[in-house]
Amino acid sequence: MDIRDIRTRLLELLTTIAPDIDAAHLNPQRALRDQFDFDSMDALHFATAVSEAFGIDIPERDYASLASLESAAQFVLSHLPAGA
């Protein structure tokens, strides 16, 4: 799985939790909560969804890494099990 696949999958997860997010205007570098109405419960659900979708363990202290789409993609890429 390369970074583009990861980004696509992350965007799917994100718009399942918050379908009101306008993907066309999403700035991947900026924190999600600065661009959209995305609250801490959404962030928690996003972390859980990412963890389940990619089969990676995300401890609470790493939740900050999921703040923007790009930082989340980089986080997933560096934590994917080998061969995934």
Partner: protein
């Protein structure tokens, strides 16, 4: 004492608890004394802003820090009592210059900013009514509240304005002024708005506080009921007496202590204990402008030498989830009291406080209508884990039941479940539901205010929360009206009917779940589900919208056509469904 009781942290040397002996305090406390202790005299004038700010300056404490605001990058902005006094006077003058009459309502749609302090206290100083709005609300709840509240002035940011207000502005006939707090100097002002900072700069910093009385309305807080529109709860200037007394008796605040209330200023806690009460105690408030983040919170507690911390169960449960390893990255030698409000704090969370911080969380109970803490675990003595605590001095609280004759009677035997009721007469008791005197009258029966929460009281006088007596949902400490969410869902063209309930959530307490019945001929599929969810979030905001939507072919209804939320909840939770004799609809 109960097996659940845990010792509080002892008072540090040189400091004595405001309430050291519960029984003695209950015997000696009177609200007349409390008013006198606050104001120092029998002047019939009483003004919240004066008691919160001017009084401290008058006492010679003007150079003390009233608040320290911390932004995302960790930059601190300090505000002294004198500075706050001047900015409030300026805003009071701005209102006059704009021709806003005394008693008119001024609202904020802001995060935790210095401007919020200026607007809230400046409006109160001028004799206006202050109404905080929750910045996570979407356009629909905002429209309802701005209209119902007869809001004449709104202070907000350009981002919030464009996202949530611009589209509904034409409907707000009573809204005369929108003042914009610029987030950066180069930001363009939206059409039809005025620059807040510029108005403030031009105004005088001298203002004679309006000669308000105890009975004059000061605050307008919106809260949610099961049916109908949100309720505009009004509190008078006398609320400051109870907010000050409880800031001492429960939060045990002493002058110049460092105090951190994490509540959002859009709700009553963020104003009563995130602004008014603590300032009357001349403390320094820590105001974190960021959203919840465990590492950041621990760092603030440690680095700012926080003495007293008032937070909420959802945040505590998130900290628990993050683990004590993070807690232990810092030390908290200054932290001496941790309290919680918003929803019942489970015993595990209270006990976790001991593991993580060496002291328990103190649960407290109150609601918008009570205007101040009514039931609490106190700083001195012991916390009973899982209990809401005991009645505050000056408060007559009971568990009551309805009699066969339609009256109300107090339950004397311990541990019997009934509704929490309070004897009217405390100064922060709500003075009305705006424009709805019948609903106000209906909150009182046989000389009791009925709170709508079910509880039992044990032999020692500790209250234990059981549940709500109605269908109101409490999520992350916020009351959410199922009616308001259902109305928004039904605005979607594919939706015929909607029913909304609260389902248990390990972090938020309850989460909003919606059952949606589609119009005939509309096929339920995942794409439509997401569209409806997006629609609800867009109208209501993330904090109020459902987190989950399920399709239902026919929602259970009574014979009169009323949707039975209670039955949906019972099915969802696998509980007994009760009496179904009036039911129609799904088998």
């Amino acid at each position: 004492m109960s097996e659940h009781s845990i010792a509080s942290r002892a008072a540090p040397p040189g400091l004595s608890h405001h309430l050291a002996d519960y029984a003695a305090a209950r015997r000696s406390f009177t609200w007349e004394h409390a008013r006198l202790a606050l104001t120092g005299g029998s002047d019939p004038r009483l003004n919240i802003a004066y008691e919160a700010v001017d009084r401290q300056v008058q006492r010679g404490c003007g150079v003390w820090l009233a608040a320290r605001f911390i932004d995302r990058a960790g930059v601190r902005v300090d505000l002294t009592y004198s500075q706050l006094q001047r900015s409030c006077a300026r805003f009071a003058n701005v209102l006059g210059a704009l021709g806003i009459g005394r008693g008119a309502a001024v609202a904020t749609l802001l995060g935790r900013t210095p401007e919020l302090f200026t607007v809230a206290l400046g409006a109160l100083k001028a004799g206006n009514v202050f109404c905080p709005l929750f910045s996570a609300f979407g356009p629909e709840p905002l429209k309802t509240r701005l209209m119902l509240g007869h809001i004449q002035v709104l202070v907000t940011t350009a981002t919030f304005y464009r996202r949530k207000v611009e589209g509904i502005r034409a409907l707000l006939g009573e809204l005369r002024q929108v003042l914009i707090v610029r987030e950066d100097a180069n930001e363009a002002l939206p059409a039809g708005t005025t620059d807040f900072a510029e108005l403030l700069r031009e105004a005088s910093e001298l203002f004679q506080t309006a000669a308000t009385r105890d009975t004059d309305v000061a605050l307008l807080h919106f809260t949610s009921g099961t049916t109908g529109m949100p309720k505009g709860v009004t509190l008078t200037h006398a609320a400051v007496i109870a907010q000050h007394a409880t800031s001492e008796l429960v939060l045990d605040l002493h002058p110049q202590e460092v105090y951190w209330c994490t509540a959002d200023p859009g709700w009553v806690t963020g104003i009563a204990y995130g602004l008014i009460g603590p300032l009357t105690c001349a403390v320094t408030m820590i105001v974190d402008r960021e959203e919840f983040d465990p590492q950041r919170w621990y760092q603030i507690l440690a680095e700012e030498h926080v003495n007293v911390w008032y937070t909420a169960p959802t945040a505590i449960r998130m900290l628990m989830k993050a683990g004590t390893e993070l807690t232990r990255a810092h030390q908290y030698p200054h932290l001496r009291l941790m309290a919680s409000v918003g929803e019942p704090l489970n015993a595990e969370a209270v006990i976790w406080g001991v593991q993580a911080f060496g002291q328990p969380f103190h649960d407290t109970w109150w609601q918008t209508e009570t205007g101040a803490i009514m039931i609490a675990n106190f700083a001195a003595g012991e916390v009973v884990a899982g209990s809401m605590g005991r009645a505050v001095p000056g408060i007559d609280a009971a568990v009551v039941r309805r009699t066969a004759a339609g009256g109300i009677e107090a339950i004397d035997s311990p541990d019997e479940v009934g509704e929490i009721a309070l004897r009217p007469g405390w100064p922060s008791m709500f003075s009305g539901y705006l424009d709805n005197p019948e609903r106000y009258r209906a909150s009182f029966h046989d000389g009791w205010y009925l709170a709508g929460d079910l509880a039992r009281r044990d032999r020692e006088g500790y209250f234990w929360f059981i549940g709500r007596a109605d269908d109101v949902i409490k999520s992350s400490g916020h009351l959410i009206s199922p009616f308001e969410v259902e109305s928004a869902l039904m605005q979607h063209p594919a939706v015929a009917q909607a029913a909304v309930i609260g389902i248990p959530d390990p972090i938020a307490g309850q989460a909003v779940k919606a059952f949606v019945e589609l119009k005939s001929g509309v096929a339920p599929d995942e794409a439509l589900r997401l569209k409806i969810l997006g629609h609800a979030r867009h109208l209501l905001g993330a904090a109020v919208a459902p987190r989950e939507i399920a399709f239902s072919q026919a929602l259970p209804r009574t014979r009169s056509g009323k949707i039975m939320r209670r039955l949906l909840r019972a099915r969802e939770l696998g509980l007994p469904e009760g009496d179904l004799s009036t039911l129609e609809g799904e088998p």
